[in-house]
């Protein structure tokens, strides 16, 4: 009993230990900007087996690197414009909803945070040449339209990426979340389509307490991103 039990206990905590070790860390400063570092190869190799075949079935695949540990996250809320078949706005909903109960609002906040997970996009450097008949891959990135401060999701070729400013795109996960939630709202409210607009602000840095003059203009700047219109 003791030998078998000990073996099971050791295996269980080995699986949990390598899960925590295999998590990527950082971002750390490198010569090419900040970059996350992968976990050690031995932990990754063991974790590939134990997480897939053991911990996943127990729903224990969280590596305890909690998102809330990263303090400098942008604050996010979003609104959804529900439209009828003629494209007329029926209703605009805001999330997190101030009228919802605390518990529901908390879940809406998690959803909003999930939509705010943008990824930086690196424009290719130098001259790009492809063999005849091949095309450069396209990407969905946030780009402004002339005279409109709202960033919209646009599909552009890698060659068209602006090189004079940082460009980002929503993660695949946030696009998936956005589409699923919009479909749900359309079903619930009987809307023909819906448009999701995300509002986010960068965190306020504590160094602002040391400003004697007027606060920098960008302190409360709001980034508005339109995910576009979706039909269920």
């Amino acid at each position: 009993v003791i030998v078998v039990g000990s073996g099971l206990i050791a295996f269980h905590f080995l699986a949990l230990g390598v899960l925590a070790l295999a998590a990527s860390s950082g971002p750390w400063p490198t010569n090419f900007g900040s970059s996350p570092a992968l976990g050690p190869p031995f932990a990754n190799t063991i974790n590939d087996l134990t997480a897939r075949h053991y911990l996943r079935h127990l729903h224990m695949t969280h590596n305890y690197h909690f998102v809330s540990n990263a303090p400098e996250l942008p604050a996010v809320y979003f609104e959804v414009r529900l439209k009828d078949a003629n494209g007329k706005v029926m209703e605009t909903l805001k999330f997190p909803d101030d009228k919802a109960n605390f518990w529901l609002r908390h879940r809406q906040r998690i959803l909003a945070q999930g939509l705010g997970d943008d990824q930086p996009v690196q424009a290719p450097q130098g001259e790009q040449v492809l063999p005849q008949g091949q095309h450069f891959p396209t990407l969905n990135v946030w780009l402004p339209s002339p005279g409109d401060p709202v960033l919209r999701l646009k599909t552009v070729s890698q060659l068209e990426l602006p090189k004079d400013r940082p460009v980002s795109r929503p993660s695949d996960w946030s696009l998936l979340l956005c589409q699923a939630y919009v479909r749900h709202l359309c079903r619930e409210y009987g809307a023909a389509s819906a448009e999701l607009i995300r509002h986010s602000r960068n965190p306020i840095y504590p160094s602002i307490l040391f400003f004697n003059g007027p606060l920098p203009r960008e302190t409360f700047d709001e980034l508005v991103c339109n995910f576009g219109e979706y039909r269920p």
Partner: protein, 374 residues
Amino acid sequence: VKPKRSTSVTAAPPVATVASPVKALVAPPAPRLQQGWVHFWFTPVSPVGLHTLRVLAGLLFIGWLLPFAGQVDAMFGLDGWFDQEAYLQASRQVDNLPVPVGWSLLYVAGTNSMLLHLLYWGTLAVFVLFTLGVATRLTSVLTWVMVVSFLANPATRFEADYLLGIVAFYLMIGYVLLGQWSMNLSQAGRLLGTGDTLLWRSGAAAGSESASYAANLALRLLQVHFALIVVTSGLHKLQFGAWWSGVAFWYPMHSPFTTTESDIRALATHRDSYLFVLSLAQYVVLAWQLGFPLFAWRQGWCRLILVAGAVFAWLGSWYIYQMPLFGPVCLIGCLSYVTPGEWQRLQTRVKRVITEALARLRSKPGKERSATAK
């Protein structure tokens, strides 16, 4: 169901006195490390700690699920926030998912709202029975299955939810094995659990529970896992400059959507003292997390550090981060380190206080009556 031994063990006995089958396997004397390992994992203890955690965890499970009563379809249904199509899309990009999508009994309900509601209310009933200690062998398994089933929706899942699954898992191990070795159980007792787990059992019955290997194993598993979580999370914090510079609490406390220029101006007048307190509190949290294994298993004054830390973690996670679940789970994790002896001393003290208070209340009207008569 009559226990084989009517011992009311309050503290772990030394390995040498451990009853069979463990004793036979331990002898002849093993090296110190091996002995320590066996003593740590395979020593029978009174299940009072396990029962207390079950009640607290059961209340937490109910408190976690009940607020979604009006949003069952939206939160958990396949027509909800994360619908069937989203699950299909997610299954195509498994490696890029920030949260894994696992199995869930709720998938059985599909888009059938009535079946989903039935599962929801049935789950709450199971949680209530488990909290009360009814048929714990069965309800503990159902509780774990339903906790992880309700965690499956990746769109609505909060990180502390994972911790609920962990607590439910170890409680399940404890209650599935409880009494299987140390008690003479009927067939029903082996399948459904012992009557000793009932919350309303009589005082005499409560004191006569036999020591259990399962109770110790479940609590030890929870303790080690919880220590791993606390330390890993503490080390993760050290990857961010804000935690080193002592301003990590600043950001959640000053959300850019709610903080105004006048708030900042008001804070700037006493910024030094404000940042001093904030950074000190943050470093205390870091020290508590990184030093956790050093005091968690110790008794005496260390208990104060453990429990006070858990209470502050609850208040802090609610006030600073507005996270309703981290605190209670953290408290349950910390209470798993309390020994059966400490629980029994606490129980005795609470009972005495209640008895004295009741006696005082009973004597008051009598005194008032006699005063009126005079």
